[in-house]
Symmetry: C2
Subunit: 333 residues, 2 copies
DNA sequence: TCAAAAGTGTTATCCTTACACCCATGT
DNA sequence: ACATGGGTGTAAGGATAACACTTTTGA
């Protein structure tokens, strides 16, 4: 251990900045991931250097803009994790890393390919969280794999702990996955991921040295539980999804994901893609119109097929007019 | 610069953990501040040592529990700031500090004094933000000082910048302070503090090397703009206030601030103390009863004066029953 | 008997939800 | 003509906001 002015014995700390950069590709929410042969996919990330950048966000923006061909507009800090994986291994060599996660919203660049920079590409986020997409049928993996496993995990009260730990497990399960009577809450994406982690059902848990779950189905079933990522990046992504799903309801952030002009149905598809569920068409439209968030451009488009659709644009003025503009997604569609 | 394994030239980084520890003392929201003779008040804070503590939150808890006689229950991460003050001075000696702010909720210890540890004491938070308490009259400092200053600041378009900066200033002012027609939104406490900072009206701004505002009233008026704190601690406190005011509306966190048994009026006073405004009594009571968040203990108390009041306790089960329990504060009282 | 605070009943309004039907285009 | 998606009207139910009045204690 070198002397570094922090007092004796304290290891050097590095701040890692990671960005979950979200764009919507038609009806697929996608995030920008860096993927090199032989390694797990990762979020774009890099170290914070306070000499070059005054704030963390400036550091992150500079870093993203240098690495990708993307202009990111909206950026929001998510959370700061002090442990690399969940179980930091203290014996690891090198500086300890504290990671600050960010959510960024952008548009898919129009250039033919979805690729943005050397090894970076937009990838559907439900590849990483197959159980989060409820737009079609209820995701099969829930009943085929996740819930049976979690139920047995919940029933299996861990030894050496208080007896009511079993109850807590059951309660978490009910709340997160909408068991008996509880509704599915799309905003709990992070809690669901963390529950699966604690139950040893995602790759990252095994990698971090936890007991592997999947007793009944065997390790072969793991791919159905979503692609793993490097470090804690899937946790950051889950945080991003939860935050975005929540924020869509009370701040007009969808428009960061839309082109300049769009149809109401495209707007709805975008909301639904992110929320992972359908909403009621008429109610959505009235909601949008009452909100005064958009105005017609005057033009129409045929690109959606069927009857020509009116084009709208975001009215940036609402930010000045109304205190907390947003679009609440109502009930199920 | 010593070699520290981070590559050449990158300075060492230290993580500072700071806690805004909130308790309600009757009708006064208070935070725990450390105050030594000759120094500005500060939040309890200390460095993160990854060798001793696996996560940031564990580090923070250990640190607070070692320093104060307090058991803190509820803890929530607020934000991570990469700059010490707003304008980090790169020439500063010593490691660069990144500060992670936390919100903690607790009860005022019953022990006679409000003091908790050597130099620590609970202090009314409106001492730091006099313009945030709208429970009595509209705070006088707004019309006497803040708004006149801010209006002239907004009118005074800065040179060397685009002309429409002036508009932006006006818009921020309208939104944050409820000018012409906009309602006062108690959740914007952080935005208000940051606006005052940008306008050079709080001490911290001058300290960080910004041009001082207060042209019209002179520097003598500064005390009316709240007590300054060390570093960016007042910014962290403003973040805590905003977050708490928001969270009270959709999560049952008030109960972290209440004694085991309480009357409905005490509950209301607590909400109002934090929110900085009054709410409608009957509607509040019905809201609470419909929410099923509390149950009668059976007992009554005379401590509130007048007719004896029923005592209630928090029903911890609701956390298991309802997906997102909380208490929306309705309109003005 | 009066002050102080607890506690209740009722109505108007708005927002949310849900339902079912018509319209304009390309094939 | 028909399939496809765009676009609308309306009614039921629940939540919210605002109103004023009665009850029980201590002084």
């Amino acid at each position: 251990m070198v002397e570094n002015g922090l007092g004796p014995g304290r290891p050097p700390i590095e701040i890692g900045l990671s960005a979950a950069i979200v764009a919507i590709d038609g009806d697929k929410p996608a995030i920008l991931v860096v993927e090199r042969a032989g390694t797990l996919p990762a979020l774009p990330s890099g170290p914070f250097d306070p000499l070059s950048h005054r704030t963390l966000e400036i550091g992150l923006r500079a870093w993203v803009e240098a690495q990708t061909a993307l202009k990111i507009g909206y950026v929001e800090q998510l959370y700061t994790f002090g442990d690399r994986g969940r179980h930091a291994r203290f014996s690891d060599r090198g500086p300890h890393e504290v990671s600050v996660g960010y959510l960024a919203l952008t548009r898919i660049p129009k250039s033919s390919a979805r690729d943005v920079g050397a090894d970076a590409a937009f990838t559907p986020w439900y590849d990483f969280f197959p159980w989060e997409d409820w737009r079609g049928d209820r995701p099969g993996v829930l009943d085929e794999l996740i819930l049976p496993e979690l139920r047995s995990w919940a029933a299996d009260t861990p030894t050496r702990h208080e007896a009511n730990r079993g109850l807590e497990r059951r309660e978490r399960l009910r709340l997160c996955f909408g068991e008996d009577g509880m509704p599915w809450d799309e905003e709990r994406a992070l809690e669901r991921y963390e529950l699966l982690y604690d139950a040893g059902l995602v790759e990252e848990a095994a990698r971090d040295g936890r007991e592997r779950g999947l007793k009944r189905f065997g390790a072969g079933a793991a791919p159905a539980l979503g692609r793993p990522m490097q470090h804690d990046h899937r946790r950051i992504l889950a945080t991003a999804i939860s935050r975005l799903r929540g924020k869509l309801k009370y701040r007009p952030v969808v428009f960061e994901l839309m082109a300049e002009a769009f149809t109401l149905t495209e707007l709805q598809r975008t909301m639904e893609a992110a929320a992972g569920r359908h909403v009621h068409k008429q109610n959505f439209r009235r909601l949008v119109e009452n909100s005064a968030l958009v105005e017609p451009t005057g033009g129409t488009t045929l690109r959606t097929g069927g009857r020509p659709a009116q084009l709208f644009r975001f009215r940036r003025d609402v930010l000045k007019e109304r205190p907390a503009p947003g679009l609440r997604l109502g009930g199920r569609g």
